[in-house]
Symmetry: C2
Subunit: 374 residues, 2 copies
Amino acid sequence: MDSHFTFELLAEQGSARAGMFYTPHGPIQTPVFAPVGTQATVKSVTPAQLKDTGASLVLANTYHLYLRPGADLVAEFGGLHEFMRWSGPMLTDSGGFQVFSLSGTNKIDDEGVTFKSHIDGSLHRFTPESSIAVQEQLGADIIMAFDECAVPDDRAYNLKAMNRTHEWVQRCMKAKTRSDQALFGIVQGGVFADLREESARFISGLGLPGSAIGGLSVGETKEQMHAMLEVVDPILPRNKPRYLMGVGSPEDLVNGVKRGVDIFDCVLPTRLARHQAAFTSNGRINLMNRQFARDHQPIDEHCTCYACQSFSRGYLRHLVVAREMLAATLISIHNIHFLVALMGRIRQSILAHRFDEFAASFLETYTTTTKQET
Amino acid sequence: MDSHFTFELLAEQGSARAGMFYTPHGPIQTPVFAPVGTQATVKSVTPAQLKDTGASLVLANTYHLYLRPGADLVAEFGGLHEFMRWSGPMLTDSGGFQVFSLSGTNKIDDEGVTFKSHIDGSLHRFTPESSIAVQEQLGADIIMAFDECAVPDDRAYNLKAMNRTHEWVQRCMKAKTRSDQALFGIVQGGVFADLREESARFISGLGLPGSAIGGLSVGETKEQMHAMLEVVDPILPRNKPRYLMGVGSPEDLVNGVKRGVDIFDCVLPTRLARHQAAFTSNGRINLMNRQFARDHQPIDEHCTCYACQSFSRGYLRHLVVAREMLAATLISIHNIHFLVALMGRIRQSILAHRFDEFAASFLETYTTTTKQET
């Protein structure tokens, strides 16, 4: 089982790691940022454009695809890779996070979760077994154990949710039948160091090909997130990839790598793009801003993406003001490329043993100017 | 003046013509279909994707760009080609049609037209001179004389509008200063054969590098449109390109070429795409339709566009149902490619002297099935 998945650790600096994770759809250079294709499409970009950004790993959401178009339909088309025409590595989440955050009234018991569709209000039920069955139909390379995600600062709830998550990951392992998918367990525990420690030990003991850190970036402070990463980092297996779920701002990526994370995903680059916001080396800018109307510069003068190689901020602002769809496409291409390229630079700096300097310099330049410009 | 523009007639079959029209931004193989980039973008596709469809000539709208972002701003960016990054031939209309059809209350006099912006209600005025000045700022290869477009079946109004259009084209010729732009005059006259004949003679006598046929596809019947094309065809200069404005359904393209037209433009392929409708060899289909949910075929099995080479109807229907922007992009790419490829096949059939058979066969297959499926 899972013989397709090998993680090669190429360099370490402090807790930061550079590696290579091999999957049936190709290798992933880590650390890596995965753009999110919620409904089997990274919003507003084609797979060809996505590939051109340099993205390797793409995430899709089990909850959304189970509801629409249905996992059986995706399976009929040969799975997600064939359906959406992404030939690189893919990851699906378990649906756990979405049934708690997106759907209507839930009934949670030890067996599973009953939830209402956010589309039509119909009732559905996920169990660890059904989540794995759906993810096997979807066919991503990396699949996630079904977990319960608690609000971060309720200790009693987090203890209960963590224990349930630990029961459920074992049921997921039993339910799993495909050898060409890697199942990752998820560390929970909210903002409580002792719970995170217990959860990290438990998940690490299962011998799974990778570990995920869930329940962060959901309302806690940055300091709390960093503290939790520092608790689990020394416990999680060094020779397996670690995935911090739902995190993807430039500063969070740098801070996550610094604390031992290899894989990140987030809707941020595409969601920001639909709100006209673009990453630059000096921080975030909003292209709706009048100051860009006559600006001949690209979004970021150092960027090699299609949008920056071709278009001025003035043209992009025109598209934004004229409510043209192309604005979202071009800014999405840029934002995804920006994060992918940032991860590439981080990786190079780890390989060259100058990550600390890179991280310090990036965080200094990026956050300061963001504050000035927004 | 206009020495950049040469029209080479390569073959004729009946009134159908295959030619080559040389412009400062490259040659145009005729007959040609030009997709429309109203606001300096062909909606939802990048210039790179547009180029891949095989499109050569792209139209942009003077009325829209004058209002937003402003022709002076476009000029500051080096003109439309630079601004929107389309390196091929471009055409701008005069704004005449839009000030009559899109804007608020108009005051028309012999001098020009006062109109209200559809964006903010502000008052503006176009004259033949200002339309040319704006089009010179925009910098397209082919520019249009400012005309008055009447409702097609009001004879008195059409007579008046035609005469005014004839006055105005002469003022446009005087106002024009750039030698790297070809000014086309516009034949008006509604659905009245004698007016069309008079207008065609007048416009033909001006020695301009090309002629346009305006005021059609605005409510008259197909039979009336064909009759008017048949009236002007023998009058317009054989050795100059003829442009039928705002026409672009597959059947209209075939019927237009048959009656001597070389250049067409229309928002149809991109507008249909945003309403989930796609051209196929057998007629139009709507991808929202449930029958396509489990359809593994591409939109059109004979099509070589990116959308058809990559995606199933089932996936496209999922994107449509899930309201994903990528649906409009992929269907636009297909629809534009379909019309461009159709023009390529028409051109080949004229060069091979088998256009009549091609046209008969196409119209038979296309229209019959369209009626059955919609």
